[in-house]
Symmetry: C3
Subunit: 405 residues, 3 copies
């Protein structure tokens, strides 16, 4: 009987049969089979798949891998399948990361959360790098920065503002992230600006400068970790808390998921990178649009889910932290690491010179983020304003006629 009382009202109402007393759960053969599986270590993973509709898209993972073997010329189909397959993989990666972070405590956990949050984008970019498609890599970097800074932030403000009249968030944390993003923006743009402004053709100059800047940015990233996690952590502590709602997985399962899903993401993104060019032509989208908008939205899908959920629950700190933190991390860590990696993988080294349109858009995104997060307060209309800037960019990229790079 006491076992029955342990079955709390909340769990009952939530319909979480997995917590029900054993005698209820073993009533039928089907449930006995289910129970057998659920008693295994992978049970939390399976439970989540069953409960989260997004993860039903996992069916596309074998679909795309099979499709690539059977019909390698069906580029458009493969493109769509790979996009649909990456989304649930990103969600799994996200939850696995949070589980590991919860176990290792705040300091290392925050580091992990920050570093592995962009694992999906990193894997897609490395795959493209190996294929020598540096234009796609750069479009993905620029697109991820702009999408996180404008779309994720604006949509969070809007969705949260529809639920709550006025929302407040930690201004200090937002200012730091905006400052880091601004610094990284300058670093990513100075080579391009100085080169074009002074009409210097030196590819050697651009490569050496990009290498130097990559080292400088990674150093800044490391120092920012020291700053937010050690010396001045009291200013930032509340912003890094993962949503307490989802129960973290056991550490073994989480690490195994991380490893396994990363391999799957690598395989699927190979298909994606190979098919993107042809599929873009079929859909009438330029490669710039695909890289900038599609890849960024796909890669950041899981993070967006967390950010939007946090905004609706009036934890805007979380949304702003994810949006700006992710963007500054791509600029300060992913982009430099890709430059350094390009010297050992791929056909030729990559530099940090972006085409002028991307330069303008990244700068406007960073400036918008700085101006908007300065006050620490938000309403639905602030979200509208930020989303409008994003729509202007998306519209411009969509209508822009293709040009040879």
């Amino acid at each position: 009987m006491s076992e029955d009382k342990a079955f709390s009202r909340a769990e009952y109402e939530a319909g979480d049969a997995g917590s029900a007393p054993l005698r209820y759960r073993l009533a039928t053969p089907a449930s006995r089979a289910t129970h057998a599986i659920e008693s295994t270590p992978v049970s939390p993973l399976l439970k989540e798949i069953r409960h989260n509709p997004l993860l039903w898209l996992l069916a596309f993972v074998p679909a795309v891998l099979a499709g690539e073997k059977l019909e390698p010329e069906a580029h458009t189909l493969l493109f769509v399948l790979s996009v649909l397959a990456i989304v649930p993989l990103a969600a799994l990666l996200s939850h696995a990361t949070e589980s590991v972070a919860a176990k290792t405590g705040d300091a290392v956990g925050g580091l992990l959360n920050a570093t592995l949050g962009n694992l999906t984008e990193l894997v897609i970019a490395v795959t493209a790098l190996r294929a020598g498609q540096t234009m796609l890599v750069k479009a993905s970097i620029a697109g991820a920065i702009v999408t996180n800074t404008l779309f994720m932030l604006g949509a969070s403000f809007l969705l949260g503002g529809l639920e709550h009249h006025v929302q407040e968030y930690n201004r200090v944390s937002a200012r730091l992230q905006a400052g880091l993003l601004f610094l990284a923006t300058i670093a990513l743009l100075v080579p391009s600006a100085v080169s074009q402004a002074d009409f210097v053709e030196g590819a050697v100059f651009t490569r050496r400068l990009s290498l130097g800047l990559a080292v400088l940015l990674v150093a800044a990233y490391g120092l920012s970790m020291l700053y937010t996690l050690k010396t001045h952590r009291e200013l930032f502590a509340s912003a890094e808390h993962a949503e307490p709602g989802e129960a973290p997985w056991p550490i073994g399962l989480a690490v195994a998921t991380l490893a396994g899903v990363t391999v799957l993401v690598a395989l699927v993104s190979e298909v994606f990178v190979e098919s993107v060019q042809k599929a873009a032509e079929t859909f009438g989208m330029t490669p710039a649009f695909v890289g900038f908008i599609v890849v960024a939205l796909v890669g950041g899908a899981a993070e967006m889910a967390s950010a939007f959920s946090g905004a609706r629950k009036d934890h805007l700190d979380l949304s702003v932290g994810i949006a700006l933190g992710s963007a500054s991390q791509i600029a300060l860590f992913v982009a430099p690491v890709l430059v350094l990696l390009s010297y050992v993988i791929g056909p030729a080294p990559m530099d940090l010179q972006f085409w002028p349109g991307a330069v303008v858009m990244i700068l406007i995104a960073a400036l918008t983020a700085s101006l908007v997060t300065n006050s620490g307060r938000s309403t639905w209309f602030v979200g509208v304003l930020v989303l409008m800037v994003y729509l202007i960019f998306a519209m411009t990229l969509y209508l822009l006629p293709p040009r040879a790079h």
Copy 2:
């Protein structure tokens, strides 16, 4: 006798003979005639004309219309006459608008005030559009934005600062306006920046993009109305209050004035647009300078009078609201409406591509407004700084040698 006491001391001292008891006013034949006119519905209009010296310029209205018939080649004279005629018409429009707004209550009143505040600029621009002078239209748009953001704001700060040591104003309202202006600036500039940056020649692209942006901006404008007048009006209510000093006209007179004066403005601006090119050459001014400085100052004359008066009376909220609200409204409403209109009137559709100098100036104006209004406090020197930026632009445009557009 009681009637005499109803004649209050304040009214007596103000010399407002129109409020005096009847027996005083009918003393002489002249005053009997005046009384006859004053008893009519147009009496408040006539009273204002008599008391406000600015409105004596109304004499130039018939002067310019007659001059255009008699001496159509005297361009310089017609230019000067039309400028002198538009100023009082703009003042009348302004008071009529406020009267209608006072009658219809805060919500619709604020909407009317905001929309009709730029009626003069709109009429001048439509006239130029019909004549196919898109360069003049664009120069007027850019000039109105920059003049309102820098000249009106800076002069208000300076004039107010000469009377009061430190002035404060509603920071939330100023931040919103500055944010709206910043968004509209990006929308007006992205087509130009992306086109020039990527050396894209596509006129079709520019037209389609301009059309899309126009729709987006009008949507943003509508949503901003919803935001400031409905969902979050408590943050903005105090800033929209018209100066209580001037007694509003009866609704009938106000509407009639609106209609009649608009027609007059349309007629006078036809003369203005036809004569501006030749007159500019005579005065040694480039068309860019004329559009940017002259048209903007003329069109905004009435609003500037209200803004400066508010600043001197320590109602800086009003001045900042007029300056930034007018600028963001031209960018978010007048410019897009002109683009949409250009598809049905005028020889060819107009796009939103501005020449690079205008792009730079609008961006700097929006940035200056953002930085300056961030603190919510003002002194005379802040006004000097802002005016200096305007002077730099005016000086540059004045000295710039003309070039073929």
Copy 3:
């Protein structure tokens, strides 16, 4: 006996033998000789030279002047000697200026401090102007602005942040300086931006515009003096206080030092300007790098010492005031004065048109300063961020291949 007690414990512990009672000081012949010198009016000057190791570099002053006579072709050696000679001269100028300022009271003192603070840079620039090396002059102006705004500010934040967890400074003062710097930046950049943007070749236009802007900027500088020293001095008073630690010199000595050292600086900078080009080639540095980095660091060495010392003692107001005040003063006063002077000295008038790379860097520096000083609080990491921006510029300039200007 009372004389012994007048020899306070603090002075005893500081080892300031010059304050010891006379009978102690006249013990040996050497000390009697020293005392004879010390009783002269130049004794504080000699005392400072003895105590401050930096001033031992004064030995290089005769060294470089002699070297120029004996070996006029040893450019590299002369370059190094002149750099080493200017540093102590700048320090002496700095202390002499402060001494005069302390005597004349706050108002005129603040004016003197502000105006003479950049005397070293002004003398070097005038020397280069007379030699017709306008590229070097412009590189020095741009370099001084950027070095003060980024390097001095960032290093102050960092050094102070290593001692104190969080530091606060006067936000109003910092905002004003940042605003002045922003205005001056626009004034220095609009001629360049408009010219290049509109592909205007008019050298006459550029000269007339530069002249007009120079007058406007000096006017703004004068008005800012009126603002900070007279009408609203209560907002700024605390920021201008010189470090009370160093005892000011007698007024006669201070004025004499000012005059004498200025002459020495002029002589040494002639050698510097003649040797810089060849020496730069030997060291593998471009003229842009030399002007931008080397000259700025050398000319600002004394000010940096004061700023860093103030930051470590938690007087961040002083550091921010020196950094931003010096930068805005170079932009608002030194640059315009050089333009005006160029019409009477030197082979050809100088204009305010900078090459695009400098335009970008000055704008980013002003923007960074605005964003960073907005909050009025600082930690070590804020210093790291600002220094990173400076390092990006230095790295870019160092790697940039030379080009013909």
